[in-house]
Symmetry: C2
Subunit: 287 residues, 2 copies
């Protein structure tokens, strides 16, 4: 099967899928994105992703490019045409094409929409979660509005690359006060020695992940102690467990932060439990 | 004349000029740009722009996509094909096309190169400088590495738009300590009551403009008192003169900051003098 992408109203061969050089996404990072997950050919947690998409667009005052029902049809069609069983749908919306200038186009233009899909097998992700991963910490160099899921990801690119070069899988950002905000493409969590599950509060300083919300909910239903509060790198180093969350990683245990093993250096029971609960909760939403 | 753009090795009609949807510039803001000026059909200050281009690429570890001599040929060709007498050449280089993922492509890909040109008459710019412009101040929400001329310009987009909606022409960023760093697409300057010309120091907190460097040089040759130091919004409000610099504005007087008139609310003599010196200095470098 050759890959198919949806670009501005048309289904095209992925290799030929292109946008104009004056798309404001290309020249100014003036756009947003979402990553949806496909489980057994169906989208999961659609309403949560759509809510965040809507919020991102509203914050940047980009018009919703099409009816949500039409968008849903497009995503299903892209899944179907690419024969995705398990994988992701990537959706990008930019302010559109206009002669380059910083301010919004004087006459509003049609937002640009790109939808792609690709396979992502579950087994390697499960294996990685079973083993646990290493993270490094890096200074949080990002802008003040990372709560908007914008395509302005250069700081995240540099952080992720630094992690890979250090033999780690993810980089956690540490702000100027020593608090861990989140990872380059994941939210950051610890389980304290006192049995409290901690993640940074939803604010302008983090991108409030869909999976983050799901984990908060399943943990609460499980009766676990939860705190949305700031935690420092020092506190994380001394944690009983650590883990990260994102759409594609679900809950993945962190067994080392910089040079410090977390707990006994193996995935902890709470993270593993939350992973199973989280995957089950998402699977139940298939639509 | 229909517009022509250079895109990855080919000269194409501007309306058809496109890049792949998985160009990392489009999905991750993983690229940089330069704006060159064309005066009387020739590029000015080429060596300064090329030095900054080289630095931006090096900081992001993107390979220089072609020999500098070849790049120069491309830029001249784009000027020629578009019959630009006075205007700008826009050059964008991204890390290239690769399946979306934050980290650099595991196997390096060819950087993507786009070169466009457009006319920009001098008369309206001179008229605006003769009148002076208004700026507003906004919190500096940008990332920590604005010294890299990256395409991650979303905070600048929002700031410029805020300026336009306030009836102003530019927004000056104020950092958390109350210091004015620079504008959304310009550097910021004041002339103090004591006759000192002040602009923020070159650092990771500003994009060190080519025109900024030229003004520092011509002012020094003129024997004016100069200080590269931080200055607050409060200090700017009380300044004798204020002005901004960029490639396309040269030196343009600022006559109002937020609700405060600067001096007598008319362009000051020092800014006007520096504008003439700066334009002459650039014109002398035509190549």
């Amino acid at each position: 099967v050759s890959r198919i992408a949806y670009v501005n109203g048309r289904y095209v061969a992925h290799r030929d899928a292109s946008v104009h050089i004056e798309d404001r996404g290309y020249q100014l990072a003036d756009g947003i994105y979402e990553v949806f997950e496909v489980v057994d050919r169906r989208l999961v947690d659609v309403s949560r992703h759509v809510a965040r998409l809507t919020r991102s667009l509203r914050e940047l005052r980009i018009a919703m490019p099409m009816e949500l029902s039409a968008l849903h049809v497009v995503m299903r069609e892209v899944i179907h045409r690419n024969r995705i069983r398990d994988g992701i749908v990537y959706l990008q919306v930019t302010r559109g094409v206009a002669p380059r200038e910083h301010a919004f186009p004087a006459r509003p233009v049609q937002p640009a929409v790109v939808v792609t899909a690709r396979r992502m097998e579950r087994a390697p992700r499960d294996a990685r979660a079973g083993q646990g991963i290493r993270v490094i910490t890096v200074p949080d160099s990002r802008w003040a509005r990372v709560d908007i899921k914008s395509i302005g990801l250069l700081p995240n690119v540099l952080a992720k690359q630094a992690a890979y070069e250090a033999g780690a899988t993810e980089a956690w950002f540490v702000d100027s006060d020593g608090f861990i905000t989140e990872g380059s493409s994941t939210n950051a969590w610890i389980l304290t020695g006192e049995g409290e599950i901690v993640t940074a509060p939803g604010s302008h300083g983090i991108l409030s992940g869909v999976t983050r919300s799901i984990v908060l909910e399943v943990a609460a239903r499980r009766g676990l102690r939860l705190a949305e509060r700031s935690f420092t790198r020092t506190e994380a180093m001394a944690a009983a467990e650590a883990f990260l969350t994102s759409r594609t990683t679900a809950v993945t245990p962190v067994v080392q932060i910089d040079d410090q093993l977390i707990g006994d250096g193996k995935p902890g029971p709470v993270a593993s439990d939350l992973r199973a609960l989280c995957l089950a909760a998402s699977a139940a939403t298939r639509a």
